[in-house]
């Protein structure tokens, strides 16, 4: 392969990596919505029971009945915002990175954390509240969705590494 062919091939791979990073960035944005939805369902319908958690806290006096729903509401809002902000940060930075607008690595660190946390959380789907193994169609479906998110995040990270390698190779060739 001549040097010209080498450069063409490297440029092609760079473009491929950039495209991958952009697409996975969009995927992460979409999954942000799913994570928020999942969290709200879990809070509203029982698996995360804020009222029960609050009732286990020992206080000197009885709490006002309005406090529990208020705390629940603000808790849901706060966590939802964090989920959205983190996904938007990773997704939008990835899109910018892929399009060559901003070449900052920071978002990949968060992408890695989310990927690891999601992967660790997948087995928990199959454990019921009393600690026994549990499987049904809802659980399998939810696990599949999280697995897809892990795959997208890993694709993003590997593409970013690939982009760095090919960019260095291009500099060497030129």
């Amino acid at each position: 392969m001549s040097q010209m062919d080498n450069i063409v091939e490297i440029k092609k791979n760079i473009k491929k990596c950039e495209s991958n990073i952009t697409i996975t960035g969009i995927g992460v944005l979409v999954f942000g919505l799913w994570d928020v939805l999942k969290f709200i369902i879990q809070t509203a319908y029982g698996s995360i029971d804020i009222a029960r958690e609050l009732s286990e806290i020992e206080l000197d006096s009885e709490i006002d009945p309005i406090i529990v729903p208020l705390i629940t509401f603000f808790f849901i809002l706060f966590v939802s915002l964090i989920i959205i902000v983190v996904h938007c940060f990773i997704g939008l930075r990835a899109i910018g990175y892929g399009r060559g607008i901003k070449r900052k690595w920071g978002f990949l660190f968060f992408a890695g954390i989310i990927a690891v946390m999601t992967a660790i959380g997948i087995p928990d789907y199959f454990v019921s509240r009393d600690g026994r193994f549990f499987i049904d169609d809802t659980v399998v479906a939810a696990a599949l969705v999280d697995l897809t998110l892990c795959y997208i995040l890993c694709d993003m990270i590997f593409s970013a590494i690939g982009l760095k390698i090919f960019s260095s190779k291009l500099e060497q060739e030129q």
Partner: protein
């Protein structure tokens, strides 16, 4: 809008109206049918997208979009189908959220149409805002499933009417020869 898209829109509109009416008439049963219909529809679409990816789109620049689209849709299809046998509250929340998402997409499409000089952007924006408004209203009455079902059903009927209007009006068609 091509002829095929108009037929699709009309079918979707008529189906939405029928399902909305059915859910008002049979609030405890009709939603299961709706969920199954959405689930099967998404599953067929998701799997056909994956087949398309492996036979065609994987050779296309930025074709991975099809892979992720297919996987995400299939995941959501399986999730939707799995909701048929869970308490009505979960299902209604999921349906409401899906409806909100559709509303948001409609709002984004309205802004896009406005940017590109399309004439029907106000209609799209109104449709999207009403969809989102209905969902907020549903969320406010989340503890009362019967109320949520009725509000959601009315929203479905409204959506169906909007799809019919959209299919029957003339629209611009950007085709570069």
């Amino acid at each position: 809008m091509t002829k095929f898209q108009k037929i699709k829109n009309i079918t979707r509109g008529v189906l939405s109206i029928i399902l909305g009416a059915a859910m008002i008439k049979f609030p405890n049963k009709a939603y299961v049918f709706l969920v199954m219909l959405i689930g099967v529809g998404l599953l067929v679409y998701g799997i056909s997208t994956l087949i398309y990816y492996f036979t065609m789109a994987m050779f296309m620049v930025e074709g991975k979009t099809m892979l992720y689209k297919g996987v995400i849709i299939t995941d959501f299809a399986i999730l939707t189908l799995s909701l048929a046998d869970v308490p009505r509250g979960y299902v209604m929340f999921y349906l409401v959220a899906l409806h909100a998402f559709t509303g948001l997409v409609e709002i984004l499409r309205a802004f896009e149409a406005k940017r590109y000089g399309g004439r029907s952007w106000r209609l799209k924006l109104g449709h999207g805002l009403v969809d989102v408004g209905i969902c907020i209203f549903c969320l406010m009455h989340l503890k009362n499933p019967n109320t949520v079902v009725i509000i959601y059903s009315l929203g479905l009927v409204y959506s169906g009417i909007m799809h019919l209007i959209s299919a029957l009006k003339s629209n611009t068609f950007v085709f570069v020869r």
